[in-house]
Assembly symmetry: C2
Homo-oligomer: 311 residues x 2
């Protein structure tokens, strides 16, 4: 794990012109760039939607997990609604429905807050939105929402990544001023391939190695290491912060910073780990042109333009 | 999960002629065949190498996990020896060295008890062998041994299976009178893709669906379900017995019956889960011709003939 020199810390000129504080997918040698943005953008106050301890924990570790206390009825309603959407998938915009590679089975449905009044109520409701507004110190909008079905037996692994790395390079999110919430519809345990986070990893930006200049094509880096964080950096982050899999009953919410390193193992157990997933972004941090060299991804993955509406 | 009718319970005529109590890979419809063999073949006695409670637990659940209390030195010696064998892989019989699909990295080395005096001492030593002799009620020999390297970051998942199903069909092991021991060289935790077992599943033989007769080719079963236990049977077994991932410090040994349903998720953590793996078979249960229709597998996977030597 090599720390950047001052020139790199001061920012690099991006492919799109201008300075890029978080350059990625340009170098063939792993490096680490210290975070240049706050984690919690508000000062804690008595009427904050999180306790002082919760706020401090999130600030220090980059995530926070607690039970939002679903009633049995509201959980049942969410599961029924998820089932209904899955059954009606043929009537939905085919772009927002992602199926498993070799199966008809649904993996995710995007933009659920637009497709279902029940999920709209959950994701635009006061409770979650106030937490997002408080932590991000701004009005917020929904950058992305989705239902993850993750059925048992053949849940795929998801390798380590920082969401911000993708959102910055591919979607044009300028700063680290967004967060995700995952609300579980079933009990999470440690064996059904739960979300794993590396606490404290949100303080460092680990650029992905890849899209190396042509004259570096003989680099000794293995093919598998292109486009993902390098193993030495991950080892170092895990040695410092450990690896945690927040668990809890259905209705547990895990809030995590846009730059925390996270991933999940596969799931061969019969236990599904379906969840509702939402990303809130600060209004002031709305997307601009991508910091990478490709055109932006579709707006069901990353809201832009007229979809940027404060809740 | 459909239980077999009496005719099936009484055994089926195998492809090789004769009655087969545990037919598999012949039907396209999942079924369950009750175990027809004991689990513990000896009566417990004061001088047994396991306590009465341990013996009862193994009998009822099909596995048992405890710390055999490696000294720091002996653990270090085993890890050094595993590293040495990996470095000298080019000098070993290439059949016994299995590398990861797209990598030079070693996944397993077979027949370690023949390759290394240090592993021979561990696997033929009094401690483990006496437990095997006691549980199997017979002299024993090593049916298979291997070192599993399972490095971090890209440990592959291993789907649910009963070892006996394979050993019976592919290798010709007649009865359920064998057991495995996995001795961990590093700490097992719940996040690095540990061995998962379904307690009590050893009481039922779940034939794999597959190699269906040609006139069943239009069966509605999904392709992924051929050659593996069906999802309904797995769900039912897990609903009854739960799923357990035995964990513990380096030097923990997990003993499990040849017919227990087990598997493991992938491992993206940096933490390796290397272990030494050995299968003891009762001398009286030595291999015969496979119960399936194919020729037997090589003897580094399944000892036969002159390799069957009581320890």
């Amino acid at each position: 794990m090599k720390h950047c020199n001052n020139a790199q810390i001061a920012g690099e000129t991006s492919a799109r012109g201008g300075i890029d504080d978080y350059p990625s997918r340009r170098e063939s040698v792993p490096q680490v760039i210290p975070r240049k943005d706050p984690v919690v953008y508000s000062n804690w106050r008595q009427d904050a939607p999180l306790s002082e301890e919760q706020t401090a924990f999130y600030d220090a570790n980059g995530f926070l997990s607690f039970d939002i206390g679903f009633s049995k009825e509201s959980r049942g309603q969410l599961i029924d609604e998820a089932t209904r959407l899955a059954h009606e998938k043929d009537e939905l915009d085919s772009n927002v429905v992602i199926t498993e590679p070799d199966r008809e089975e649904i993996r995710s449905i995007f933009r659920v807050h637009d497709l279902s009044p029940i999920f709209e109520k959950l994701l635009k409701g006061t409770r979650l939105v106030e937490i997002a507004r408080f932590l991000l110190g701004d009005d917020v909008y929904i950058h992305q929402s989705r239902l993850n079905y993750k059925p048992g037996f053949h849940g795929k692994e998801f390798y380590w990544h920082s969401d911000f790395e993708t959102w910055h390079v591919e979607d044009g999110m300028p700063r680290m001023r967004a967060l995700s919430m995952s609300i579980s519809l079933y009990t999470n345990n440690e064996l059904n391939g739960p979300l794993m986070v590396i606490p404290k990893s949100h303080f460092e930006f680990i650029p992905c190695v890849g899209e190396a200049p042509e004259d570096h094509y003989k680099s000794s880096l293995k093919k598998q290491e292109y486009g993902v964080p390098d193993e030495a950096s991950l080892t170092s982050l895990a040695a410092r912060g450990g690896i945690v899999a927040p668990k809890g009953p259905a209705g547990s919410v895990t809030i995590f910073d846009c730059n925390i390193m996270h991933g999940s193992n596969s799931n061969i157990t019969p236990y599904p780990r379906s969840n509702v997933f939402v990303v809130y972004n600060a209004l002031s941090n709305h997307l601009v042109a991508p910091f990478g060299s490709r055109p932006p991804r579709p707006d069901f993955l990353a809201a832009r333009g007229e979809r940027v509406v404060a809740i």
